[in-house]
Amino acid sequence: MRYSILTLATQALQKQQRWPQIIAPEKLKPHYDIIIVGAGGHGLATAYYLSHNHDINDVLVIDSSWIGGGNTARNTTIVRSDYLLPASFALKNFALQLWDSLSQALNFNLMYSPRGYLDLAHSDGELEHFMLRANAMCLGGASASILTNSQIAEKIPALNLDQQSRFPIRGALFQAEGGVVRHDAVAWGFARKSSEKGVHIQQNCAVNKLLTSNGRISGVSTHRGKISANSVLVAAAGGSERLMANAGVPLPMEPINVQAFVTEPIKPVLDHVVNYNAGLSYLSQSDKGELVMGGATDGYLSTARRGSFARLEDTMMRAAQIFPFISNLRLMRHWSGTADIPMDGNAIVGRTEIENLFVNCGWGYAGFKATPAVGWKLAELIADGKLPEMLKPFALSRFTDGALIDDAGIGPYPWLH
């Protein structure tokens, strides 16, 4: 069904009782051309571009849980491309271009809201670094500018620009195209369109093991039996490590806890995305009026999925420095999850030592913004067998070659990320 104002009216007349399911009823075949393990944004985007850009529809996307139930729906929904290193920038900027027209392409409202992203600088040195980054972004074809404090005040009147504070704001890097996207709609939108083309989406069916024979992957083993495939893509975030290690491809990453918070809803106060950089605390206001906040990782190994109060306190404290009124608000929700963070803090995408096994993981807590670009490029790789330029730097082999993409300059210890 194509969603339009006409379908909306028709369904209203039928008392909203006849809306079809977003994805086709589940059915499992014994064999597929391609199996994608992990029905998060990245896995579903790959299936969507396989079917729509390459007309490959014999695809199964399989997940241990429901779609949009993992990290895809547990992030702060921010999209931006203000990266300095060319590899990180290129992929995220391509994604930003795709976000722009994705709602139309998917016929599903992703609520992409390019409300502008401000990265705050707290010293002259930091501002100088932002100029470097802004110049690099402009050279890469993105738009970026440096805002003075008076320009910041015009955009966000509520921001505390007091120069006597501990980490005064000296300016900001601004990207107008940066903003937020409704995260769970991304999973649903990709799933719906892929399903229309015949892609199978199997929820609540965990893959226990990758099956190998003669040095190749022959399929996957699930509690509903074995399913064979010509190629397999593992895009299972933190679940990837165990699957891949059992297939003889250990991944250089470790699990770290990341948290995010939502305050009670208030009147509109913030119509941009703001990132506080003395420490880390990023904020935006949702359509419901809640302030959505995130911070750095908890900083130590954890698969407990239980956030540390130290980090919560830290993130709140920093948020309250730029928006003092926040100290009067109550937190309404708080969630945490296990992020899969590689040793240089950057994702692992592309081929593995096994010819028909592909991997896409290690996005840690920075994967949402790259979703459509990764799907697009991975589909290209799987369909054509040729590694796209944009994915080359993200190869798993970079760890043995020593060609790390160390955005923060602090690898090879993931907890420093």
Partner: protein, 84 residues
């Protein structure tokens, strides 16, 4: 919130510590690239009990070594490390 058992100061809040990560067993300097790759990049992720070090920055200023279950955050203190 972790309560980290410091052998000098007793149980203290995690915010007093800096994380040092897993206790690494590094190979000889002359070892080949693949040995170093395994040592630096491929930790043993199958064992949820991690042998790790923390620096008690706002306390005794010593590195301490603990075993921690990363699923539950249960600690088993082992030893103090000397200042060197």
């Amino acid at each position: 919130m972790l309560l980290i058992p410091c052998p000098h100061c007793g149980e203290r809040d995690e915010s007093e510590f800096n994380y040092g990560g897993r206790v690494a067993d590094f190979p000889e300097l002359q070892a080949d690239m693949s040995t170093w790759h395994r040592a630096i990049h491929l930790p043993d992720v199958n064992d949820p009990i991690v042998n790790e070090v923390w620096f008690h920055a706002s306390g005794c200023e010593c590195w301490i070594q603990v075993n921690r279950d990363i699923r539950t955050h249960e600690f088993q203190p082992i030893d103090k490390l000397d200042h060197s």
